[in-house]
């Protein structure tokens, strides 16, 4: 017996696609062997078409694998779909679980009935979710009138109402503003801490991965190309943070510490871009070095984004 909440062995899924009159086989997921322990938070990332959604659909029992084995919550997703539905909560960024013409709160009441929760249990959980996701102000508003940020929070609450042990989120923060993203991430961190919930999320947002996940699985053309920490991934591909500084006086060149490289300057030495590897040198050390040469008026730090990391990995493989 294992404690794996997700367990796949050689999981493969192909599709037959029509191209004019000819048919071609496309491999969406190729020999995926993945183990996720209960309580982990895993970012499942890759370019569009890398096979992320197909994997998720197989984990939930929506798609039958072409070959290979899959167990979710130790259940066979297709054969034991109805039992599995009690154990998992899924948020699809693009499809809604809510009833668009009903007040948001009424959708929760229906979902409580669908999952056959006891009134006391449903009320307690609902209260917790309403408070933590700040849903109170729009519980009586019909779903179709919600803003995107409000709707996503309501979707997350809808998926978590029955206290699933495994929560799968497909692009949960897509299209959200900074504040909404922040709230949602904070909520997921709290949920995981308090209930030991396992998270599996696909995302294009590096912020999601950094703040939510302690493990990153990167897929390319249906195959796993990295499985480990984000730091290890960034180190492998050399993704750097970029610090941009605006200086009070023009400086032609800067003396930088080890681990930092000068990427370029603009405005005759008034603005400099410096790349640095956060594992080798801190932002503070870079800033101190720059400050020694000139007064810093303003600065910004850019994170490497998922797209960038993915692009680098893909480039190194092709």
């Amino acid at each position: 017996m294992t404690s794996h909440i997700i367990e796949t062995d050689g999981l493969t899924r192909t599709f037959r696609v029509r191209e004019g009159v000819r048919r071609r086989t496309v491999v969406a997921v190729d020999d995926l062997s993945l183990r996720v322990e209960a309580g982990e938070a895993v970012g499942y990332i890759g370019a569009n078409g890398a096979g992320k959604s197909t994997t998720i659909k197989m984990l939930c029992g929506i798609l039958v694998p072409t070959s290979g084995e899959v167990r979710t919550c130790r259940l066979r997703p297709v054969a034991e779909r109805r039992r599995l539905a009690r154990e998992i909560g899924v948020v699809f960024g693009q499809r809604s679980q809510l009833w668009w013409d009903l007040p948001t709160g009424e959708s929760f009441a229906l979902l409580a009935a669908i999952h056959r929760l006891s009134p006391a249990d449903a009320a307690a959980r609902r209260e917790e979710l309403v408070e933590r996701l700040e849903l109170g102000e729009f519980l009586t508003t019909p779903v179709r009138q919600l803003s995107l940020g409000q709707r996503m929070r309501a979707e997350v609450a809808a998926a978590l109402l029955h206290r699933p042990r495994l929560v799968i989120l497909d692009e949960p923060t897509i299209g959200l503003d900074v504040l909404s993203k922040q709230r949602l991430r904070e909520f997921l961190v709290t949920e995981r801490r308090d209930h030991g919930t396992t998270l599996l999320l696909t995302t294009h947002d590096m912020g999601d991965v950094e703040r939510l996940c302690d493990r990153v699985v990167l897929v390319d053309r249906g195959r796993t190309v990295h499985d480990g920490s984000l730091g290890a991934l960034s180190r492998t591909v050399g993704a750097q943070r970029v610090m941009t500084v605006d200086l009070a006086s023009s400086v032609p060149s800067l003396a930088l510490p080890d681990g930092a490289t000068h990427l370029g300057e603009e405005g005759h030495g008034l603005r400099h871009r410096i790349g640095f590897d956060p594992d080798r040198v801190t932002a503070a050390a870079v800033l101190a070095a720059v400050s020694a040469d000139a007064e810093v008026l303003d600065l910004s730090i850019e994170e490497p984004d998922v797209e960038d990391v993915v692009r680098r990995v893909y480039r190194s493989r092709r």
């Binding site: 017996m1 294992t2 899924r13 929506i62 259940l75 009833w99 056959r116 249990d121």
Partner: protein, 282 residues
């Protein structure tokens, strides 16, 4: 990998409430929602009534130039029309949205059904109810009642029993037709074009006496899609009129057999469709 359907993965409280509670909750909310938009609901009822009346008028117009069709006069035709239309409208009200399956697929509502602990087909059937079809069912009911009054019927336990059997079986048969269509729409691009032919064509065929049909129609709507068993054959048995294809005069009592066959076919169609959707072949 370890074979692992190991008992209960985690202790969960036993489900609360009856097995039917989820369906009841969703249906009740659909009904409340439709009733709460009064103007829109009123307009829907009105247009549905108009459709029912137009179809009834078609029958009446036909009889301005002929006195009987296939041995059925206007009074007998009213009975056939009333039975068929009442059954169809009731089925349409309860499961009519099933032949709108591509919409459920496109919007992802079908995928959402997979995430809930109920069978897919039952979730689909109970996901909506079209109360506006009540207006059309009312037209069918009126035609049926008039048909029962104007015909010279030998009333008795047999007649009442046959009528009840016909109404239940007819509704169940038409309901199967919608599910049958839904299953096929997993395969067909623009599938509703094709399935409308037998769903709405079937409804139309059901309002006609089978005695006027040529052999292909007898095969298609007499037996394959058993439309003749929803209204025409029960009416023929009630009135002692001609049956088709050499069937005995008590053939109207076979309506439940037709309903069972229709559901067997609908179930197969749905199963095959779902397997296709999940990519398990079929």
């Amino acid at each position: 990998m370890a074979e692992s359907p190991l008992a209960q993965p985690v202790a969960r409280p036993a489900p609360h409430g009856g097995v039917l509670a989820p369906y009841r909750a969703v249906l009740a909310s659909r009904i409340r929602s439709q009733a709460s938009y009064r103007t829109s609901f009123g307009l829907d009822l009105g247009s549905s009534l108009l459709v029912g009346l137009t179809e009834l008028a078609e029958v009446a117009v036909l009889f301005t130039s002929v006195s009987a069709i296939g041995g059925f006069d206007l009074a007998a035709m009213l009975l056939v029309f009333g039975l068929a239309d009442l059954c169809f409208s009731l089925a349409d009200m309860v499961v009519g949205h099933c032949d709108n399956l591509p919409e459920y697929v496109r919007t992802g509502r079908l995928d959402v059904f997979y995430l809930r602990p109920q069978p897919l087909l039952l979730q689909l059937v109970t996901s909506d109810i079209s109360l506006r079809r009540l207006a059309r069912a009312a037209v069918g009911l009126v035609a049926l009642v008039v048909g029962l009054v104007v015909n010279d019927l030998a009333w008795g336990a047999g007649a009442v029993g046959l009528l009840a059997v016909a109404l239940v079986s007819g509704t169940v048969t038409f309901a199967a037709l919608f599910v049958w269509a839904g299953g096929l729409q997993f395969f067909l691009v623009n599938g509703s074009e094709m399935t409308n032919a037998f769903v709405y064509g079937g409804r139309y065929a059901a309002t006609q006496p089978g005695t006027v049909w040529g052999r292909p129609l007898v095969v298609v709507f007499g037996f394959f899609f058993p439309m003749a068993f929803t209204a025409y054959l029960p009416a023929a048995t009630l009135l002692g009129l001609d049956t088709f294809a050499g069937l005995p005069d008590w053939a109207g009592w076979l309506a439940p057999v037709a309903a069972v066959w229709a559901w067997v076919a609908a179930g197969l169609s749905w199963r095959t469709g779902v397997r296709h959707y999940q990519g398990a072949g079929g």
